[in-house]
Amino acid sequence: MTMDRALDLYDIQGNICKGYGRFGFPKARYFFLEFHQYAGARAFLQQLIPLITTAEPWSEKDHPDQSDKPQATTNIGFTYAGLSALGLPRRSLDGFPLEFRMGMKNRAGILGDEGPSDPANWDPVWQGEPVHAWLSVNGQSRQAVVDRYRQIEQLLQQSQGSVTIRPGHKGPQGSLQPWQDASAVYENGRVTPKEHFGYVDGIGNPYFAGCGNDPSRLPGRGKLTRDDGWQPLATGEFILGHIDEAREYPIAPEPHLLALNGTFMVYRKLHENVTTFNRYVDRLATDFDGSRELLMAKFSGRWPDNGAPLVLAPDDAAKAELDQQLAQLTAKAAAGDHTAATELRALKAKWIDFTYNKDRHGSRCPIGAHIRRANTRAALETEKDAFNTPSALDDRRRLLRRGLPYGGEDETPADDTEQGIIFMCIGASLERQFEFVQQQWINYSNDFHLGNDRDVLIGANNGQLTDKHIIQVNPKQGKAPFFCTHLPRMVETRGGDYFFLPGITALRMIAQGIIDPT
């Protein structure tokens, strides 16, 4: 097996293997470049390379010491237009997958970007010709982000117009910004893992062979085996130049070194209509048999306040019990009780290590709940032992999510203020992974036997009677399921594109102008 083969983490960009948010980088700035002249652009890249953050381990531990990691990180990705503007040879360019070459705007029909999400309504930065490159700076503090940004800005100035920033991100109070700032949401001055609807977000990213994560993180994140165990997903699901789950190399451009250790990334600005969301929940909650929090949980599959999955605590009573258990263990562990600390870790592991095997009806977690759509956890194997492995239909549809919320700092969130999530996800095939999940599982339900129902939170719903979500019940209890009808558009796409994140070697070769598939 290729399971334990070490990856060259120094050749892989850092954001592929690490979600920086989890490592104490709650602030970020994303900005987009245009290349106007080959040689100048390549010279700029050569100067930028020393600033690029690799996936090198920061520490043996998962949560490293402050001294062990940088104050700020920098990563880069290119659109097809960008690679073309950098003078890559035709043969290399033609080797990129079709959806990458087309770009996100031209995939609107596949992605359900219609109505308010139509590309015509996106921020100005996305209008006209595609941007050429995405640059991201994550920081332990806002100051660290700004310092690194200034450093890059200087390099841009030195390029004497060969490389410029494409402005045009809608910001607070109707402003247009040259960049997109993002930040974790704060409550009482403390960082939270929440987004602007109030859900704890970003739980349970996939675990792949060689990713450098602590192996204790594997359960619930890998692929399921017949004996209910977990194995790492193949490296090639997330990084080019490595074998994938179909035992082949992912589709990638030539030469080999251009693709090796690179991957693809989706960038999407997802606006959250906070007023619409709150109004909808308030209206529905009056008819719902349970708390407002339970109703919210029935949309997402996790309790909003702490992300506990509904399969673990399916109703208000079970949640109260779980919270109590959690509080007791936390207090004991804080007082130095090692047994309690172990129990607490085991309990928290259940946030991620679960399946829907005992919840076929969806009476705990609705079949159409967000997390059950986005990560099906072997639920599509509706007959036991029907498939090669339990999660055979899921393993090739996984997404490494790398986003952060934006907005909500300078104004109170409403529909017409600027807040939401900068959704980023990484995978070796945009079409097979992101586009498939977005189209078939978020905006459609045939695989779940739920017709054309869509995801409550991010589906392209339009407020019609048939735009609905069913909260299933245990049929033996004689109660009707709860229908959430007339779902409004909670989330709108405001921009985005597809980016290629090269490995460090490839980045050097691009910068030196020596990509040659001959």
Partner: protein, 225 residues
């Protein structure tokens, strides 16, 4: 002509077999279906599939339209694979290859140059190369997938039974029976709608069709004027 109609995709694949392995394969098909139905469990669990059918056509038994049509002398016998399914070509082939690779290999094992279903892209190329495009493809219920039809049938039968049995009920008993009816049918209540776009190519075909209809309408208007 497109292989797509509404939510359905029609697929025909003709793959050559040596005539003697074709006979052997017929026996195997028969044995599998009769004695090892669990081999087919994976296929039946892939709910995007309406049906899939494998037929062996011996090299001497290809049909002729008429006796006047000369008999062909064929080198190989053929296996005809027919299937209708919901979703895109990729989704279908992917599902087969991910979920039931050994089952597929059993069906196609003796076909000339069959590469096995894993790695995926060799299998992709094999199917594409041997696929026979649809000349005409009709779908009576373009808004319904096979799952939608199954749900609707179950719901219709239950609703009819509920209508019969609920007439004499008191208001309270009716309310309780109705709640139970909804709970029992909660998995058959998905909304009906159009198919998600199968590909950007298919989007173009749909746009061209729309343009043609508009052009025809304009011409009719002009003629009438």
């Amino acid at each position: 002509m497109s292989n797509v109609a509404g939510k359905a995709y029609g697929m025909n694949v003709m793959t050559p077999l040596r005539w003697w392995t074709a006979i052997w394969q017929k026996v195997i098909f028969w044995v599998v279906v009769k004695t090892f139905p669990y081999f087919l469990k994976g296929l039946l669990t892939l709910s995007l599939i309406h049906y899939a059918r494998w037929t062996i056509i011996n090299r001497w038994s290809f049909p002729r339209l008429d006796k006047s049509q000369p008999k062909e002398k064929l080198t190989y016998s053929y296996m005809l694979f027919e299937s209708n399914f919901n979703g895109s070509w990729d989704q279908y082939i992917d599902s087969f290859s991910f979920a039931i690779p050994s089952g597929l290999d059993m069906f196609w094992r003796w076909n000339i140059k069959y590469p096995k279903s894993i790695p995926l892209h060799d299998f992709y190329h094999y199917i594409r190369f041997n696929q026979v495009e649809c000349d005409h493809y009709y779908n009576a219920y373009p808004l319904a997938s096979a799952n939608d039809v199954k749900s609707a049938q179950a719901l219709y039968a239950d609703l009819a039974a509920f209508a019969d049995s609920s007439e004499a009920l008191s208001d309270d008993a009716f309310a309780a029976a109705w709640q139970q009816f909804l709970a029992d049918n909660q998995h058959s209540l998905g909304s009906m709608g159009t198919s998600p776009l199968m590909s950007t190519s298919n989007q173009l075909v749909q746009e061209h069709h729309h343009d043609d209809l508009q052009l025809a309408a304009r011409q009719t208007q002009q003629e009438e004027a």
